[in-house]
Amino acid sequence: MSVLKSSILRKVTMALSGLFLVVFLLQHFTINFSSVISPSTFNQWSHFMGYNGLVQFVLQPILVFGIVFHFVMGFILEIQNKKSRGVPYAQFKGSKNASWVSRNMIISGGVVLLFLVLHFIDFWIPEMEHKYLEGSMFNAELIDEQRYYEELVHKFEPYWRVIVYVLSFVFLSMHLYHGFSSSFQTLGLKNSVKKSLLSVTRAFAIVIPLGFIVIALYHHLFSAHHLLYP
């Protein structure tokens, strides 16, 4: 990180890693939403993502690096920003000149980070165990191409997990609402381009997290019941 000494360069890396995560989010959403429409398609796509060499050994490490980098750099910048103030104001009316979401990216980002810990425990760690400890990655006999839909639905059985996921997606939406459009400002795009992108970024920030909420609620309310009581 010490290589990135320039404030603008640091911000540019935040913007680029953020945009990369936005692309990942869109791909993740597309696959997950297929579980609502067609469980077999969801199984098919999940199996491809889970056992394709390029995805597993090239794209996945890049993704993990992107996530870790975005969070670590975010915290570094936040600490630096706090230090830059020095003595805090007794009265600071931040709401008079900037939105809550833009001023509290560290809170929304922090909630998303906590959510990711749960999400990794829920899905990623069991996947890694199955593939690399039990060995399904290297033993075709252990592969079950139809397990993904059922596993997903079971996760959304307990109502507490659905509540946690829904709340996390609300914070994700807030984070994206400022962060997505903000990245284009950091990358120095011209006003005319930014203005035309603004509605797209804001729509994305609302529609994608809302879609994830729909997936969680749908499986909790409908699919889980069907699996338990077919």
Binding site: I8, L77, R85, V87, Q91, G94, S102, S182, Q185
Partner: protein, 244 residues
Amino acid sequence: MDIKLKIWRQKNATSKGKFEKYALNEINPEMSFLEMLDVLNEQLISSGESPVAFDHDCREGICGTCSLFINGRAHGPDRFVTTCQLHMRRFKHGDTITIEPFRAKAFPVIKDLVVDRASFDRIQQSGGYISVNTSGNTQDANAIPIPKADADLSFEAAACIGCGACVAACKNASAMLFVSAKVSQYALLPQGQVESKRRVKNMVAQMDEEGFGNCTNTGACEIECPKGISLENIARMNREFILG
């Protein structure tokens, strides 16, 4: 109108400051904010107390000397207004007005409400100029045709008075709006373009060295800037920096 004041008092740069409370009666609502502070200081001097130190010069909103964080906002509650152009009619009888210095690690307090903004001068010295050999045969700037749109944008950027309200208002104490205004005013004109790459690199490096925070695009600086300097300048500076 009667008002109460809660003012940051600090003897010098090294001492620990604290808020002091004062009451002022029969203040004329047509007074400027700084005239109100003049009245307070006259009272303090006549009672043998130390007057409140605050920066001011032109009192016409053009020199960038006045500062003050008034009731939680840089230059007070109004847009496009410096503290010297703020009037007491903006407040109500019985109000308590909190006055603090502009807060930033790069703007250390010298005394009371006066802060050292020499960090802005050092940033300016690191590249906020054009190298012209003033031999007596220098070409008149007006002789170079410049598109009207560029001239207007450059002029708008040059309207920055370097008061530091952008730093004061930013939750990160970032100086990006100030630096970007200076970078833009030259980058948009042919005379400035010659040194544009070196300028942006040096000015940003100096800004970082001074200890200003990072821009998180909240837009607070643009709202609080008394001269309405646009965030578009920050995008232009980023663009110049990345392409440079």
